[in-house]
């Protein structure tokens, strides 16, 4: 743990303990919920209640998010050395990152604005939102706003910040068991907030409606149209649950 030497206790908590704990919750939580709460595993669509705002908010937000996720993969997971090795100059990378990032940011924030307004002000939609969903959505909103300040405020309009020399090193270090705490601890506060809230989102993810992200039904493209099922033996109920699954997560039934 050379990267953690010289770090203070709060820094250790924020940049080592919190990530690993939430990662553990993320993985175990998903396994647990998948096993115990198939019935609660849904997108919890509110299109039935409200359609006009969703028409614009939802696709724009989701496709913007895909772009943002792709940007994170390029910027955080791909080491700077790789892009340099294939001959992309730093200036070109920065320019692409700021402009494409801004495009994604505009889509995401536009979608979020519509969806948030819908969730808060359309009574029918608000009534369907469970407390854990509120937590997840508020955290998500914070992450998004911070991310947009970074992309637009710092990198597009401001002087720029080379997160690939700091945040990325720390992040990738987490997955090899050697997170560079000093790198993230000395990053601008905006980046720190963004990262910390992102971990918090991962922590509540398995217990919120966000689980629907893992159910994007790509295999529908190859499946036969009409599904037949025969009467086959199935697994009995989980012992001790008498067929009930966990009721407290997700939505209030």
């Amino acid at each position: 743990m050379s990267g953690a030497s010289g770090a203070s206790v709060p820094q250790l908590f924020l940049w080592v303990i919190l990530p690993y704990v939430t990662l553990a919750i993320f993985v175990v939580g998903h396994i647990w919920r998948y096993r115990y709460d198939q019935f609660g595993w849904t997108s919890r669509s509110t299109e039935l209640q409200e359609k006009k705002l969703l028409k614009w908010g939802s696709p724009v937000f989701h496709y913007g998010t895909f772009a943002a996720i792709a940007g994170h993969v390029i910027g955080i997971l791909v080491p700077e050395r790789w892009t340099r090795d294939i001959g992309i100059p730093e200036a070109a990378y920065r320019w692409f990152s700021a402009s494409a990032g801004t495009l994604a940011a505009v889509l995401v924030i536009g979608g979020v604005a519509v969806l948030a307004a819908r969730r808060i002000f359309v009574t029918r939609v608000r009534a369907t939102t469970s407390p854990v969903d509120w937590v997840a959505l508020v955290l998500l909103a914070v992450v998004i706003v911070m991310g947009i300040i970074e992309t637009v405020g710092v990198n597009l309009l401001g002087s720029g910040y080379d997160y690939r020399q700091s945040v990325s090193l720390w992040f990738r270090g987490l997955f090899v068991g050697n997170p560079d705490v000093r790198a993230i601890a000395h990053a601008p506060i905006i980046y720190q907030l963004h990262a910390a809230c992102a971990w918090a989102v991962l922590g509540v993810w398995p217990f919120s409606r966000l689980v629907h992200a893992w159910s994007y039904p790509v295999w529908y493209l190859w499946r036969p149209f009409v599904v037949y099922r025969s009467r086959v033996a199935t697994r009995p109920n989980e012992p001790g649950t008498s067929g009930r699954r966990w009721r407290k997560i997700g939505v209030r039934y």
Binding site: Q38, F39, G40, W41, T42, S43, R44, S45, T46, E47, L48, Q49, E50, K51, L54, K55, S58, P59, F61, H62, Y63, T123, R124, A127, T128, H212, S215, Y216, P217, V218, W219, Y220, L221, R223, F225, V226, V227, Y228, R229, S230, R231, V232, A233, T234, R235, P236, N237, G243, R244, R245, R247, V251, Y253
Partner: protein, 529 residues
């Protein structure tokens, strides 16, 4: 040839008095839960009318069912699979709650908590979505008995498609009731639309169900079904639909809507069909030929070759025997008096209707049963109050001949039986719809006498399968037993809805007891308790 069995329902519209008992008992059984308030697995519509949800029959708007592409191949009207995946964040063809109605309850507490006064306290409506006060402006029965018809009934898609101009003035107005459940289609477009693969057709009896555990709430089944008989539960975020009361069907009992039908107008029976021929028949180029095409898919259980092949492919022997006694087979294939609802949706529906032999519009033509001139019956058919063309738009994609043939058969049957009762001679001759004495006898037995055991020929699922069947229920979405369902100890009807269990001797035990507790029962054959 792949022989499969499908449970099938036939409804005799002549007998429907629009009492909604089927809707009420169905609702009490299946959808009296939060989130399911607006769902009617069974509803009764007054025709002409917009229906429930409004104008559901207009597939130009809703894009339900199948269509043929330029090369004549079958494809979903809602677009390609890829289009569905790309529009998964917003389904453009989904009805909103406004197209059904905003569900509501009443502020009953006020009856008790209102301060003492001279007037009886009144209760206000509360939205089931928001809990706020609201004014209902639409409902599942808003158009009951032609209510508001002068303003709205001409918006019925079946009327819009008529060449003949319909005038709904007092003298010429017409109506009848159309009870509707899920069609449990041979070529279900809801199943084909479900991206999660949560919807399926049961191989043994053809019942179409939603696996509540695998449903992810993508809602394409709702828009894919042209009959709009899949509903989205706004509390659980899962799709639900008519189950054909499969726990009862497996026990050899009729569905709740059939059992409680006051007019005794429903018939249940098996249809054997060739599963390999379904796709080809559904791709018949001319929509008006789809009725005949679906008839060609059905197999004759009396044919020894069909029976032998069915049993070779695993259809139990007693099911083949039941298929021979099936009232559905008699009414659909033998007598051809029952017709499918909107075959042009190309889903091959399995709930068929005997068109209503309504009162005659012209009183002079009512003398159709003239002993001296039996052919006058034909004139009667065209003088009926319900225009034949309207019925044809409902049942045969606009082709009037099958509807007229069915109505003629029913009229001749009445004339024959009337003559028999009165002791007057009546010789219809070959011209009158080819109704032989044996056919008339059979139709009379089914339509007029209609004994319980003739109306419902439901072979029970096999005892040796019982344990596996019941195990399937707990995972495949008996909505009573799912989380939040009344069977889970919530505010609904009794726990332990497993209607029937068989003991070791194969005897049937009904386990439905008053008070919500399963009745004491003997050893059960299932292994998962």
């Amino acid at each position: 040839m792949r022989v499969m069995a499908n449970v099938c329902m036939v409804m005799n519209l002549d007998k429907c008095i629009g009492c909604h008992t089927c809707s009420v008992t169905c609702k009490q059984t299946w959808t009296n839960r939060p989130g399911a308030e607006y769902m009617y697995f069974n509803n009764v519509e007054t025709k002409p009318g917009l229906g429930y949800p409004r104008r559901y029959e207009d597939q130009g708007q809703w894009k339900g069912g199948w269509e043929l592409d330029r090369k004549g191949r079958l494809r979903l009207k809602g677009g390609s699979r890829l289009r569905r995946l790309l529009s998964i964040f917003y389904n453009p063809d989904l009805p909103t709650i406004e197209d059904y109605h905003e569900p509501y309850t009443y502020d009953y507490a006020r009856l008790i908590t209102a301060p003492a006064g001279t007037q009886a306290p009144s209760v206000s409506t509360r939205s089931a979505l928001t809990g706020r006060e609201m004014n209902p402006t639409w409902g599942a029965n808003w158009e009951d008995d032609l209510a508001g018809a002068p303003q709205r009934a001409l918006g019925d898609p079946n009327i819009e498609a008529m060449a003949e101009k319909v005038v709904l003035d007092f003298e010429s107005v017409f109506m009848f009731y159309l009870p509707r459940i899920c069609e449990h289609c041979l070529n279900p477009s809801c199943v084909a639309s479900c991206p999660s693969g949560a919807m399926y057709k049961r191989q043994e009896d053809g019942i179409v169900l939603v696996d509540q555990d695998r449903c992810r709430g993508w809602r394409f089944c709702v828009s894919g079904c042209p009959y709009k008989k899949v509903y989205f539960n706004h509390r659980t975020g899962k799709a639900e639909k008519c189950t054909f009361c499969f726990p009862r069907i497996e026990a050899g009992l009729p569905t709740v809507c059939s059992e409680t039908c006051v007019g005794r107008l429903r018939y249940l029976g098996l249809m054997l069909y060739d599963a390999d021929a379904v796709a080809g028949a559904a791709a018949t180029p001319d929509p008006q030929d789809l009725y005949e095409a679906q008839l060609s898919v059905f197999l004759d259980p009396h044919d020894p070759a069909v029976a032998a092949e069915a049993e070779r492919q695993g259809v139990p022997h007693d099911w083949v025997l039941a298929a021979r006694r099936s009232p559905a087979y008699s009414l659909i294939a033998r007598h051809r008096v029952a017709l499918p609802l909107h075959p042009e949706f190309r889903t091959m529906p399995m709930v068929w209707y005997i068109p209503p032999l309504s009162p005659v519009a012209d009183v002079t033509a009512a003398v159709g049963y003239d002993d001296a001139d039996p052919a006058a019956v034909f004139a009667t058919i065209d003088a009926l109050r319900v225009p034949v063309e309207y019925l044809a738009n409902l049942f045969t994609a606009g082709k009037v001949e099958p509807v007229r043939a069915s109505l003629q058969k029913l009229a001749v049957l009445r004339a024959m039986m009337r003559a028999q009762q009165l002791g007057v001679p009546f010789r219809p001759g070959a011209a009158l719809g080819g109704l032989s004495d044996a056919d008339a006898e059979d139709l009379f037995r089914l339509l007029a006498i209609g004994r319980y055991e003739d109306r419902y020929v439901v072979p029970p699922a096999h005892a040796e399968d019982a344990g596996r069947l019941l195990a399937q229920h707990s995972l495949s979405g008996c909505s009573l037993e799912s989380e939040g369902g009344p069977g889970m100890g919530g505010d609904g009807p009794p726990d332990g809805f497993h209607l029937a269990r068989r003991d070791r001797q194969g005897r049937l035990h009904l386990a439905l007891s008053p008070g919500g507790r399963p009745a004491p029962r003997g050893p059960s054959v299932e292994g998962n308790e």
